[in-house]
C-alpha cells in the first residue's frame, strides 16, 4: 500500500493491523518516544498511537523537536 510520509509517497507492505506505534518501529523513526505524528491533518495523543490504524492513502507527518536558537 502507498502512504505519504513527510510529503513523499512511500510503498509499505500490506498489513491490515498496522498502527502508528508499529509504523514507528517498522520505519525506525528517529526519536520514537518524542516524535509528533500527524495523521491526515490530526495529531493523535501519544497514548492512542497503539490503537490508531494506518491505512492506504494516509498522509503522515513526523514532526521533531528543534530546541536550538542561539
Amino acid at each position: 500500500m502507498i502512504v505519504t510520509i513527510n510529503g513523499k509517497e512511500t510503498q509499505l507492505p500490506e498489513n491490515a493491523s498496522r498502527t502508528i506505534d508499529s509504523l514507528l518501529t517498522e520505519l525506525d523513526v528517529a526519536q520514537p518516544l518524542y516524535v509528533t505524528v500527524e495523521l491526515n491533518g490530526d495529531i493523535p495523543d501519544r497514548a492512542d498511537f497503539a490503537t490508531t490504524p494506518v491505512a492506504a492513502g494516509d498522509v503522515i507527518e513526523f514532526l521533531y523537536f528543534m530546541g536550538g536558537g542561539r
Binding site: E38, I43, G67, G68, R70
Partner: protein, 271 residues
C-alpha cells in the same frame, strides 16, 4: 509624521503599496520583543532595527562568547565578554537612531515573563531551550500575544506563527517538552552558521507583516527547512481541542516553569 530623513531612509518601504507612509508609521509605532540575542535573535534584531520598528525589546542574560561569532552576526570579536543585549543594542541604534531598544539582561522565567511581554505587540522566540520555548508559548497564548516560534538544529529549522485563540500553538504540536538531555542541543550537535539567518529573517518578516497588517501570517502551518537538501516544506496544522493550553479544557492556566526541561542547554558555550 515622517521627517524628511525618515522618508529618505525608508523610501524603499514607502514605495511599496503594502507599506507606504502609513505602514512605515505603523512600524515606527510598533513594539516587538525578541527573546534570545543569539543565532536567531541577531538577524531579527538587525532587520527589525533597519526596518524602523520603533521599540524593540531584547532579552538575554548571557555574555558574548567566541563560539557565538560563527553565526550571531550582531556580535563582533571586540564584544566578547560583553552582555549580549548591550552588544546588540549598540549595533541596532548605531544602524538606526529612530529605534528605541529596551534591554532585559535576564533569563526569562515564569516570574518575569508576563511583565516583559505585556509591553509588546508581537513576541519572537529566539531561545535555545525547551523550557523557554514552552514558557514563551504558554505566556503568549494566555496573554493573547501573537508570537513567532523558531527552532534550529544542525541543518534543520522550523518556524510557526501563533495567533492565540485563532491558530495552532506550539503545544498543539508538542504537548509537553521532552525530558532534559533527550534531544541534542546546538552546542552538542552543532549548527551551520547561516541557518539561523534564514529562520530568523523569516521570523522578522512575520513581525513586520503583523505590524503592517498585510499578507498571510505563517499560522496553522509549520514551515520546515533543510539547508543540506535546500528544501522548504509546509506542514498544515490546526488547533487541537485537547491542547493543554489553548484547547477546550486547558490544564495550563498560568505560565509556569517547565522544571524537567530547565537544564537542556546549560553547557558552557551553548548559546
Amino acid at each position: 509624521m515622517l521627517t524628511d530623513s525618515q522618508i529618505d531612509r525608508y523610501s524603499r518601504h514607502i514605495i511599496l503599496k503594502e507599506v507606504g507612509g502609513k505602514g512605515q508609521q505603523k512600524l515606527l509605532d510598533g513594539k516587538v520583543l525578541i527573546i534570545g540575542a543569539g543565532g536567531l535573535g541577531a538577524p531579527i534584531a538587525l532587520y527589525l532595527a533597519a526596518a524602523g520598528v520603533g521599540t524593540i525589546g531584547i532579552a538575554d542574560a548571557d555574555v558574548v562568547d567566541l563560539s557565538n561569532l560563527q553565526r550571531q552576526v550582531i556580535h563582533f570579536t571586540a564584544d566578547i565578554g560583553k552582555p549580549k543585549v548591550e552588544s546588540a543594542r549598540e549595533k541596532m541604534v548605531a544602524m538606526n537612531p529612530d529605534v528605541t531598544v529596551k534591554t532585559y539582561q535576564e533569563w526569562i522565567s515564569a516570574a518575569n515573563i508576563n511583565g516583559i511581554i505585556a509591553d509588546y505587540d508581537f513576541i519572537i522566540d529566539g531561545t535555545d531551550n525547551f523550557a523557554a520555548k514552552f514558557l514563551i508559548n504558554d505566556a503568549c497564548v494566555l496573554a493573547g500575544k501573537p508570537y513567532s516560534h523558531g527552532g534550529i538544529l544542525q541543518f534543520d529549522g522550523q518556524t510557526i506563527t501563533v495567533k492565540p485563540g485563532e491558530s495552532a500553538c506550539y503545544r498543539c504540536i508538542f504537548p509537553e517538552p521532552p525530558p532534559k538531555e533527550a534531544i541534542p542541543t546546538c552546542s552538542q550537535a552543532g549548527v551551520i552558521g547561516v541557518l539561523p539567518g534564514v529562520l530568523g529573517t523569516i521570523q522578522a518578516t512575520e513581525a513586520i507583516k503583523f505590524l503592517l497588517g498585510k499578507g498571510d501570517l505563517l499560522t496553522n502551518r509549520l514551515l520546515t527547512y533543510n539547508a543540506l537538501r535546500m528544501r522548504f516544506r509546509e506542514v498544515p496544522l490546526k488547533r487541537k481541542t485537547t491542547c493543554p493550553v489553548c484547547g477546550d479544557n486547558p490544564t495550563i492556566t498560568e505560565a509556569l516553569d517547565e522544571l524537567d526541561a530547565m537544564t537542556v542547554c546549560d553547557l558552557k558555550g551553548t548559546p
